[in-house]
């Protein structure tokens, strides 16, 4: 590697998050006596990353465009609750989950369009709009439509999808664990998001708008339309991801998404996205989600008392973000 490339690399937040992640894995591996890198633990961690990872990616694309979405958990909750409710009532999806997914995507897209309409049309601060729509959508889900938890009556195909796996692994004690098929959703989403962000003009438009919205307009982008499409897509994806979660957890709980944004957004920022827009990468985001999932999945292995887990969670985020902040500050000099 030549020198300038190296220098450029060391300037990126992603680089540091990656190093922290590796160091952390090594550290936990040692402290836990080699339990972290057991295949069974690894597949569990991967499984844990599926939903959060995908959520983080939609958060990332919004943040790249200079937005801030607080409403995606509320959209997701509405979409999957409505979709599963309809499926259960109609007796759909006993053998094929497609209809459920399509419904969730449709509902997500509709609510996303509502976001997009307000944001694009009135040029309002996105964080504030989505704070309003988050509250409003939650009111819709739980108040107006009073959606219920669906557990044992969940359509069989959802269950089957959640239970399906690629392969089995065994740990040294002979315990079995499986790698869920849903991991492909994450992989596809990583691939598609990277491709869109790096290789399509739509993705570049998001970076451009996040970097300088006025310039993007002058350069000829239809900023209004792009933003609208963005929020519709994010809504649709939120619905889809919610459905994946329903399948994995084998239950549809309308309240399960409450506060999710407060877990996801810090991870995305930790992964190098800028709250002012225009910065951020899929790699960094996935590293950060990996970091957080590894931490939350290895607290027990490392022997941290359950009562102290929240504290250590906070501490890890704080340390991670301090490293990247201090490094950024040093560079500014």
């Amino acid at each position: 590697m030549n020198k300038t490339a190296w220098k450029r690399l060391t300037k990126r937040t992603e680089f540091y998050i990656f190093i922290v992640l590796i160091a952390l894995i090594a550290g936990i591996q040692i402290v836990s006596g080699g339990q972290l890198l057991e295949p069974t633990t690894l597949v569990t961690i991967l499984r844990g990353m599926v939903v959060d990872g995908m959520f983080a990616l939609i958060c990332l694309i919004v943040m790249i465009s200079g937005g801030f979405d607080l409403s995606f958990p509320a959209i997701s909750a509405f979409a999957y609750s409505a979709a599963t409710t309809i499926c259960v009532n109609q007796g759909w999806c006993e053998t094929n989950p497609l209809a459920g997914f399509l419904l969730a995507i449709l509902f997500g897209a509709i609510l996303g369009a509502f976001n997009g309409w307000i944001i694009a049309n009135f040029k309002l601060n996105t964080m504030i709009v989505t704070l309003g729509t988050q509250t409003f959508f939650t009111g819709l889900t739980m108040g107006l439509f009073q959606m219920k938890e669906i557990t044992s009556t969940l359509p069989a195909s959802f269950r089957a999808l959640g239970e399906s796996y690629f392969f089995e692994v065994y740990n040294s004690q002979g315990q079995r664990s499986t790698l869920t098929t849903s991991i492909v959703f994450l992989i596809i989403m990583i691939a598609v998001t990277s491709f869109v962000l790096r290789k399509t003009m739509f993705g570049r438009a998001l970076y451009a708008i996040g970097g300088n919205e006025v310039s993007a307009e002058r350069a000829g982008y239809n900023v209004k339309r792009i933003k609208f499409i963005l929020y519709v897509a994010v809504g649709a994806l939120a619905g889809f991801i919610g459905m994946v979660r329903v399948c994995l957890a084998r239950q549809s709980i309308p309240k399960a998404m409450v506060g999710k944004e407060m877990a996801i957004i810090p991870a995305v920022i930790l992964g190098g996205a800028s709250i002012f827009g225009g910065e951020g990468s899929v790699f960094g985001t996935i590293c950060a989600i990996g970091l957080i999932t590894v931490v939350s999945n290895s607290m027990l292995l490392v022997g941290i008392d359950s009562y102290w887990q929240n504290f250590f969670n906070g501490l890890v985020i704080l340390i991670g973000i301090t490293i990247s902040a201090v490094q950024a500050k040093r560079q500014r000099r």
């Binding site: 200079g66 509250t135 739980m142 957004i265 504290f311 906070g314 501490l315």
Partner: protein, 343 residues
């Protein structure tokens, strides 16, 4: 004529007044007999001071262009200590004077811990340059984690009766004590914001931190002080919460974080900084509380209808405000440019 002038200058306030009137008319018509009772208003007056104080505290943060998500967790952490202390030292049968001294010490302990917590937030944001959302979300986890660890998740009880009684007493025979405290704090904060150099500086800092720094003002100190004030004022809210609940716990008031932000935004006090007026805050608070209590007057509406109405109201205000001159909720280009260039 005079009104017209006022209305022109304070379009946003007028809009909130209209909202308030609309909400009142709506509930008067549908639930007049329940709304217009002394008890109903007394109930509301008992409820909003605790999160009202938190809102008041976080307002300072918002004005400087920062955000605080840790205040509830910090308040709980602090009051856990205070309640433990009070429980341990004000034994049954102790003299009134002694109990009074213990209570005062307990309050001071709370405020001291809040002060430290606010200071840590401020240092993380100014000296380490961590974005405030991140720093305070992390600190929220830290405080809540510490509280859970220290109490093993249990409720801390044993407050001297005197303390809880104060919380439920009435000043001058009619004014609920929490409301009294809120009014005092509100007036104090309004005076600070309007009539002190500090108040002037936070608005300027919220608009452009760099310009203020380049005017020879130690902005880091002002911002740290702001986080401390936020923590202190919202700490008073926590103290009131503790007295209504007669106990302290790691997760009390966890639903207040989002509510406080919602109220501030509705009041036009945005985390972008440099904006908003304190009377609007009062209006927004009252609107939010009336909706919450109003929804509770309908036997058949579940509580989520309050969310529904809050969200709808905020969106209506947002969209309506684009028609006003100024357009406070618009994307702030200047703000963004500033941030980018200062990075």
């Amino acid at each position: 004529m005079k009104f017209k002038n006022f209305a022109n200058k304070n379009q946003y306030t007028v809009m909130l007044l209209v909202m308030l009137a609309a909400v009142l008319v709506f509930f008067s018509i549908t639930r007049g007999s329940l709304l217009w009772t002394g008890d109903a208003w007394y109930g509301m007056a008992m409820q909003f001071p605790e999160y009202g104080l938190m809102t008041l505290g976080v307002m300072f943060c918002f004005i400087t262009g920062n955000i605080d998500m840790s205040f509830v967790a910090l308040g709980n952490f602090a009051t856990i200590f205070a309640v433990r202390y009070m429980a341990a030292n004000a034994a049954e049968g102790a003299s009134d004077g002694h109990v009074r001294a213990v209570i005062v010490t307990g309050i001071l302990i709370t405020l001291l811990i809040c002060l430290i917590g606010g200071f840590i937030n401020g240092v993380l944001v100014t000296k380490l340059g961590i974005p405030p959302v991140m720093a305070t979300i992390a600190m929220q986890l830290v405080w809540q984690g510490l509280s859970t660890a220290l109490t093993q998740g249990n409720t801390v009880t044993g407050l001297p009766a005197m303390y809880t009684e104060i919380g439920h007493s009435k000043m001058f025979g009619f004014l609920p004590f929490p409301l009294f405290i809120f009014i005092i704090a509100f007036i104090l904060c309004a005076l600070i914001v309007r009539y002190t150099v500090y108040g002037e500086m936070i608005y300027m800092i919220g608009t452009n931190v760099k310009a203020v720094r380049y005017s020879g003002i130690n902005t880091d100190r002002v911002v740290i002080l702001t986080f401390v004030i936020t923590a202190l004022v919202s700490g008073v809210g926590s103290l009131i919460m503790v007295s209504t609940m007669a106990s302290a716990k790691a997760d009390y008031g966890s639903s207040y974080v989002m509510r406080v932000i919602l109220i501030l935004v509705l009041a036009g006090i945005l985390p972008d900084g440099g904006m908003g007026k304190i009377p609007d805050l009062l209006l927004a608070l009252v609107i939010i509380q009336i909706i919450a209590s109003g929804v509770n007057m309908f036997a058949s509406l579940n509580t989520y209808y309050a969310s529904l109405i809050w969200g709808a109201l905020l969106l209506i205000v947002l969209i309506a405000s684009t028609k006003l001159s100024g357009g406070i909720f618009k994307i702030r280009d200047d703000k963004k440019k500033k941030q980018v260039s200062s990075q």
